[in-house]
Symmetry: C2
Subunit: 213 residues, 2 copies
DNA sequence: ACCATTTATGTCACTGAGTGGCATAAGCCT
DNA sequence: AGGCTTATGCCACTCAGTGACATAAATGGT
């Protein structure tokens, strides 16, 4: 790797770390890009050559994970598993690779906490999620037929994976000392709860039901 | 209803219709707020007293639907149905009420088409979806116990409902002459496909599998 | 070690979204 | 009609994001 590339990557990492730290401490809206760039000693123009938006810099950990997921998906084989099981294992593999990066878990937890209390970050995050989902669907359709482009099942399967992941993440990021293995376990649990969620029956007569005595 | 309120509502509707028309014709980014306000003969300041953002004005049809959904949910009764079935019927009821509004279907279709090709709109849309989901979850937990705040199933059930709705909407908005009854049918179909999506098994050996001959 | 080429960075000026403050106008009530 | 409330308009401002162009730094060949 050339010196140029290393410098660029280092600037990127510094921006991410500084942004996460400042946003967490003073709030997303409490930090202007000028201040962030000042702290990293980089021009605003350079910032926007590295990230597409103010939100993007704080979403980098999540983006990295899903990029790995897509890469892993290219080489996944069914092996008699359910589509959802295959996706689960692919995501777990991506998780394992992402977690090799020093300090990834901490960054991911900060990013998630920020997204929770910053509408615009949550929005960007979910839009990114959607485009990743589409890409994943393209890969799945290309590599396995899966009943043509009108079959609703593959799309629903990925959405269920994503829903389970968000659920797992919500619990994990709030826990003290977030650890990748714990996130993996939570993801498994959330996915295992899907069939029960489908058939869950609420108690008869809600507490404030219209015709309760 | 007072004259003041009627005027305010009329301005709101005009803004929505004009925005949808202009955004569709010239693109979301191709229309500045100044131009939109000029066309409706309203100051920019007034625009932001009616809508929180440029994106919001085009998302109004969807917001109205989900607001109705939450209202319906307050008076829904289980009646021996699955939670997901109850949510489905509640959403169908909201849909029916929303569709009474003259031209709602057309606005909804335009709004969806715009969100498809405008990242920032998609992001806002999905964030709004998430906050609605949370509110719905609050209502469900308040009215029916549903196994405490740590039970993952209710959350997953709503996410499945939303996933099915998005899927139904995607097919519906692209169809010629979008009609509310058709959207309802598509929603039923998408929800009915959920169990199959959960157990779908891909063909063995992907087309570009790593170890294919 | 030097120079030409390529590529990253910085500077400046600009557009457009969104906000606060305050004056004015429009609707409301008796 | 006239005082009261509330919506609207206007002005100046902050800040995210972009385009054009100059400058600096890395690379590769000699």
């Amino acid at each position: 790797m050339t010196l140029r590339e290393r410098k660029k990557l280092r600037t990127r990492q510094t921006l991410i770390d500084t942004a996460l730290e400042q946003f967490t401490r003073r709030g997303f809206d409490g930090v202007t890009l000028d201040e962030l760039c000042e702290a990293v000693e980089v021009s605003k123009r350079t910032f926007f050559r590295t990230f597409a938006s103010k939100e993007d810099v704080a979403m980098a950990p999540a983006q990295d994970l899903w990029t790995l997921f897509l890469a892993e998906l290219e080489s996944a084989v069914p092996g008699g598993r359910t589509l959802l099981e295959m996706e689960r294992d692919t995501l777990l593999a991506a998780l394992e690779r992402a977690a090799r990066e020093e300090g990834w878990a901490g960054r991911m937890a900060l990013a998630h906490a920020l997204a929770q209390r910053t509408p615009s970050m949550d929005g960007h995050n979910r839009h990114f999620c959607e485009s990743t989902t589409r890409s994943a669907l393209d890969v799945l359709r290309r590599r396995f037929g899966l009943g043509g482009p009108d079959d609703p099942r593959p799309r629903l399967a990925i959405d269920m994976l994503v829903a389970a992941f968000h659920l797992a993440m919500a619990g994990w990021a709030d826990s003290p000392e977030p650890d990748p293995a714990d996130l993996a376990a939570r993801l498994r649990d959330a996915l295992a709860a899907l069939p029960a969620a489908l058939t869950l029956v609420p108690d008869e007569g809600g507490a404030a039901g219209v015709s309760s005595p």
